[in-house]
Assembly symmetry: C2
Homo-oligomer: 152 residues x 2
DNA sequence: TCCGTTCAGTTGCAAAATGAAACCAAATGG
DNA sequence: CCATTTGGTTTCATTTTGCAACTGAACGGA
């Protein structure tokens, strides 16, 4: 990598006006999503991530750097001068609803009946309820009952 | 493309037990996410998608085929013997919560203060409220107050 | 202190995915 | 019937990904 490689980050957004597209630009790839997933589940070190995801190490290096550059992860020093570890920033933690909806969609549609899969549970061991968009009055919303208003 | 190309679909899952990973395998790339976004916003034809996303046409062909093969889109005939159009299946429409959380995260973290962006509104023109994970009792849940239980 | 190991990468190279552009055939429109 | 549009396919150059081998700084123990 050349000494001056401060560019690489955003060769401009795919679709600058759309929040979905911006988020997709930042974390819309398999490995970034799985890194965030694992960070939420307690992964902290390079090898934590490498072992859990099975990602190639050069790609992991690149992704950790990218997520850090974009403010989703930070590098923190462990208590006793030990090795650096990665931790989610507030913005990173705020991806929780995204990971949850990905998980819940997967549970509903990506498994055959009878296949087992991991489950997200709260402190009591209770399964986290399905997350569904709703209006201010609590009425369920779908893609048919909503629209995108451009540039507001 | 060779005449027999029925493989391509799933050279096995990245992480078969994890619903997040399965979903990421199916739609965890920028273009698939944007195609789903646009389908939810009314895109139906090849050129609808091409113009809205700006995706290369060969890639669009491949993605539409892939999403169709995985049951997120179907090809439907328009009323008057017109050209084929794509439409979201039930599974595809059920990605709505995923797109909404991606959008909302983007709104919160991917724009500078003062930058404008598109907004998702319901039939009344009211902005869709933030979607946040909550326990059965309605208490907010975060990545710190939940855990993944493997293979349940 | 010296030695071996683990960690966190880097480097080199092959394979796969992506993108731009040209090409093409079936529908549609006039 | 002809021109145009639509929905692709093909070709080729560029980028990204992945694998495997290598490196160098930190520990860890004898």
């Amino acid at each position: 990598m050349a000494p001056d490689d401060t560019d690489r980050q955003s060769p401009a957004w795919t679709d600058p006006d759309c929040p979905v597209a911006r988020t997709a630009d930042l974390v819309g790839d398999r490995w970034s999503l799985l890194i965030v997933r694992d960070a939420m589940d307690g992964a902290r070190s390079f090898t934590d991530f490498q072992q859990r995801t099975g990602i190639a190490r050069n790609i992991l290096t690149e992704r950790l750097r990218r997520l850090t550059a974009h403010g989703l992860l930070t590098q923190v020093d462990a208590p006793s001068g030990r090795r650096r570890r990665y931790a989610l920033t507030e913005a990173g933690k705020d991806l929780f609803p995204v990971i949850v909806t990905l998980r819940q969609w997967g549970e509903r549609h990506a498994f055959e009946a009878g296949e087992t899969h991991s489950v997200l549970v709260d402190g009591d061991g209770t399964r986290v309820p399905d997350l569904r968009p709703a209006g201010a009055d609590g009425s369920p919303l779908t893609s048919d009952t909503t629209t995108v208003r451009r540039r507001s």
